[in-house]
Symmetry: C2
Subunit: 663 residues, 2 copies
């Protein structure tokens, strides 16, 4: 019999790991992310607080905060709404906590303090915390972790607690989270008397690792590892659990009884392709990568890399969106990436960012940073309106509104952003990601600093116990230049790694006005400069952003004969408001010049792309549905905007993959 | 208040109508339809008889004949299977009846005689005939004509009866059908005491007109007209009927409570676009056209033409398939014709043939014959395998088997033909259509004869009480030439109309070796030759069949930049077995020569088309999912086969709309 020895505490080995910079150690001054952070502080967090408190006019009440008030005994009301909504509040609290790290905000501080008190009152004496079971079915706790999201909600509360602790230094919520995690640890695990179970929706795995990193308590690391390694073992826990509940028949809601849906079809080490519910998959793969970072386990590293290659090499949209199937909100299969029926849940793109960040820490390679950046600027940011108050759950790559309205197989697609959702996982998820964006900019240990996202900012590091300050000056992603200024208390030797994006062919670097030959020092997407740095050293990185026509692998059948326009990390699209209807009829001549042009006024300040395309001359086509012969084409001007900024004006058609006319 | 005066008996006005030739008056000698008729006789009818008797190994029992045996009291068994299966048997009996008109077949004659006796025993004393209600819920007859198909089954039985009478001269089944129709007439209609109702699934409308034409009894015409005109009137019959049943909640199975599903959203005269369940729509539009033929009602003619223009100008696949939505097996909306998710039920294409034939009789115009022919050779014939024993219910225009297997939104699509279906409406429907193909070849009255389908055959007509025999010699649709020989007892003046197909640009005609200027005599797709015909006169019609590249209207977004190859009336496709996998990657250079070549051995004898196309050189593409730069293209040979013949060899990809590389 094979022994599962993965609960061995000696697993934590990897000591000089790359850490993400703490959100407390980086400030944003101007430009893309500074503006988004401001929006999150000024609009998104207040708006979402209203939504969670059922105060947004015209929006169905979510009952989220209400649940805690009922559980805390503050009000006596019927429990309405969904079983997993505690997590929405936890995500919001996580976002609010990061925001407090960036900005003094007494009003928000008071709200969060009171909220934490409310949560405290909702927590049971033994640490249990889940308002649904506390209020509605207290006798059924932990009887259906496959479907009922108790661990998912716990995970988000733990993440909020770590964020609150790291941002504010206050321990109250962290202590509650430890109590909750201890309670779960008393119930689940490989020890005798514990349930060898794991959650239907992964999330707590990530949370426990963060709790371990925040507290240093290996118990949390081990429980996370247990959940990841136990998943998919035989006999199957979900079957045993269902049997205990007395379930006979398999229900077929969203393939929930299909092990693949929850990535529990195989033990983690045997998994080779991304499968099932895309958000669960992303959280799972991020979680197993976390374990690999901590343990350096070569087999698990192989699993992480194999899954990464499958997702990014065969199952990812060019926007960084994942999940090509509405049914099960799931991955489809290799190269099956239809544009109109994409699911590409905002949360899944967010999950890909989480995973990419961990892959980058596992193995410093620009290819991970490239995907992280791609998902951030495209598939994630498309999920929130420019005004911060409207959201996409599904992020399609082409929209024909009439079909979206009429076709049953497009019923999951919206072409205007929504104020809120019945299942509102995405809005607070995007809020917490933006609010924690600093974590994705720098990675470091005590002798190396790596710049992975370029954005106007000031960051602080400790190198061999000395402070190093790095300032970035840039209007990236619109601007091609990044000026980096090093400030140190004294001259100091360390490695500075600058990411050379995969989309950039002719990068240039000057250090103190001296041209550097990048090819000599660049490996795996990072230019490494190891030298003694003096206070005031200045680097100027030039990242030429030519307007690129990107094509898909020829097996990606939906995109053959089409191109996507990309400039820097930003994927572009056509919108009907700029280009008229029937975007599908536009053909981009392959020799056509496309000009990038910054427009300060449009859509919050964006670089647009202008050019010309061919379009069928309607005069040359009579009313026939089918006919032979050559139609006449007209040359028409076109204008593209960043994909993330679509659907912020009039609603209409949108298209990412544009037909190409090869010349 | 508006008076519905449509039940006025004086409505039958149109006296010199074009009739379809009777199946008894045409024989097929060789070629496409002769072979299909032979197949129907030798294989299809015996095979389907086995299926209806639950004798096909490996196929789920249909219980169809069993239902009649239970109803007749011959056996005592539980009633299993679907409520509308009487119609499958009726369609089979209709097919068998036509077959008896073409061929002596004592064995089949005996089977049908015995079957008619069995049906007679199943019919109740008052004429009622529906095995489900007789056996299972006798107290609930006529309480749910919206959903339960009593009238649909009655319609098919009446059609079988008319076919049997016209083919064999025997009245027994016809008398049973009259009794059944009289029974229905006693229950439904505008007279006091009758229910102002109509069926959820149209079909009886067509049947009653045929019964009227066979018997001369205007009662049947009036009942048909009542059903058509009453549909969609307010207050809505389906609501009244549901209320009587005590139904409170609306069930949402297949939008069955959506009036549009059954074309009952508006009164017939207000309907402007094709909508809802495609088979119901086709039968409805064919039925209303029948009424227009009989009455010459200009308003109804306008309705028929308007719906025709909508369907054929905006909602029809190039194969003559209709129905772009799986959900509700329905029409989608103008120009929404996706190829992979097409529903295009075989029965709907058959319904389009029925309708086109009636439009042609309403107004002699080649455009109706063009669509009739297009649907016959493509969207209908694709529904049956070359061996006659396997069927498609859904007829997609492109198939990627891996996606078909995996994607939920493609779950209605099969890529291999099936032996039978749980809902087996299509197989016997295609059998009865092929068996009655003669009805589509000639239309005539007592002074005009119109050839609308070209096929090797001998036909007989009465012109002013004199016999005229017309022989066609041709291997159409493979062959471009049709030789037409007139035989008369004596020289006789009449109009002979030859259809000049819409797909043919350079038709030529010789009469007795003398070249005729076709443009002088051709109007609305028919060349009309009015002269005194002598015995032995010979016409040679030359219909050049160039290989055409057909394009779609630029609003048909799914087909932009693509072409379909058509030769004569036959639409072509690529199959994986001939062209390798990933057909979606093939690009047809616009200047490329495509050669038609008859292959006697392949797929029962077909004209194939050969040429070359461009395909991505895999060597020029590394493993990346997305990249910039130009890929290398290879020139590869391609081979196309008629669409109807696909999926008769190995299963694999199939593609009708092929990318074009414009040069």
């Amino acid at each position: 019999m094979k022994i599962n020895n993965y609960n061995n505490k000696s697993d934590v080995k990897n000591t000089n790991k790359l850490k993400a910079i703490s959100v407390k150690d980086i400030k944003f001054n101007a430009g893309f992310w500074a503006e988004k952070l401001q929006l999150v502080k000024d609009v998104v967090i207040p708006y979402q607080w209203q939504a969670l408190n059922d105060q947004v006019p015209g929006v169905e009440p979510s009952h989220t905060v209400e649940h805690f008030r009922i559980a805390a005994g503050e009000i006596d009301r019927e429990y309405q709404g969904r079983v997993y909504q505690d997590s929405d509040l936890a995500k919001w609290l996580e976002a609010a906590s990061y925001s407090l790290a960036y900005n003094k905000n007494p009003e928000l501080e008071e709200i969060t303090e009171k909220l934490i008190e409310l949560i405290e009152k909702s927590q049971e004496a033994d640490g249990y915390l889940d308002t649904y079971y506390t209020v509605v079915e207290p006798e059924k706790k932990w009887t259906n972790v496959r479907d009922r999201h108790e661990m998912y909600c716990a995970g988000h509360m733990i993440e909020a607690a770590v964020a609150h602790y790291e941002s504010t230094g206050k321990r109250k919520l962290l202590d509650m989270a430890c109590k909750l995690a201890d309670h779960i640890d008393s119930k689940f695990g490989s020890d005798k008397g514990k349930v060898r179970g794991y959650p239907g929706h992964q999330e707590i795995e990530l949370a426990l690792i963060r709790l371990y990193r925040a507290t240093g308590d290996e118990k949390y690391f081990n429980l996370s590892k247990f959940f990841i390694e136990e998943r998919g073992q035989k006999p199957h826990f979900f079957d045993q659990e269902a049997q205990k509940r007395g379930e006979k028949e398999k229900k077929h809601y969203r393939n929930i009884f299909d092990y693949q849906y929850s990535q529990s079809h195989l033990p983690v080490r045997e998994q080779k392709v991304a499968i099932g519910h895309a958000v669960r998959a992303m959280y799972f793969y991020a979680g197993l990568t976390d374990i690999a970072i901590e343990t350096g386990d070569s087999e698990l590293i192989k699993v992480a890399k194999r899954l990464w290659e499958n997702v990014t090499g065969r199952q990812m949209y060019i926007t960084g969106g994942v999940g090509a199937e509405d049914n099960g909100e799931a991955f489809s299969f290799d190269y099956d990436l239809p544009n109109d029926r994409a699911y590409t849940e905002t949360c899944a793109a967010i999950g890909l960012v989480f995973w990419a960040q961990r892959m980058l820490r596992l193995e410093l390679d620009g290819k991970y940073a490239d995907i992280m950046e791609k998902a951030l600027y495209n598939g994630v940011m498309s999920g929130i309106s420019l005004d911060g108050e409207k959201y996409f759950y599904v992020n399609p790559l082409e929209v024909w509104p009439a079909a979206t309205k009429k076709r049953y197989d497009l019923r999951h697609v919206e072409y205007t952003r929504q104020q809120w959702f019945g299942c509102a996982c995405c809005p607070p998820n995007i809020a917490r990601l933006i609010a924690s964006i600093g974590q994705y900019v720098y990675f470091h240990n005590n002798k190396e600093i790596y710049l992975s996202l370029y954005t106007d900012s000031d960051a602080k590091f400790a190198i061999n116990d000395r402070n190093v300050f790095i300032k970035q000056k840039t209007n990236y992603p619109w601007d091609e230049n990044v000026t980096i200024i090093i400030n140190t208390e004294e001259s100091l030797e360390f490695s500075l790694g600058l990411r050379i994006p995969g989309w950039c062919n002719q990068a240039g670097l000057k250090i103190n006005d001296q041209e550097i030959n990048l090819s000599d020092i660049t490996e795996k997407g990072y230019a490494i400069i190891n030298r003694k740095w003096n206070n005031g050293d200045q680097l100027v990185l030039h990242l030429p952003m030519s307007v690129e026509r990107i094509k898909s692998h020829p097996q990606l059948r939906y995109n053959i004969g089409k191109v996507t326009i990309q400039r820097g990390p930003v994927v572009y699209c056509l919108e009907e408001i700029d280009n008229g209807s029937n975007l599908f009829d536009l053909k981009l001549p392959s020799n056509n010049k496309l000009i990038a042009e910054y427009d300060q006024e449009l859509l919050g300040g964006i670089t647009i792309i202008r050019g010309t395309a061919l379009r069928t001359d309607k005069e040359s086509w009579d009313s026939k549905l089918y006919q032979s012969g050559q139609e006449k084409m007209l040359t028409v001007p076109i204008m593209l905007i960043p994909y993330y900024a679509w659907s912020n004006r009039e609603s209409g058609e949108m298209l990412v993959w544009i037909k190409e006319k090869e010349l």
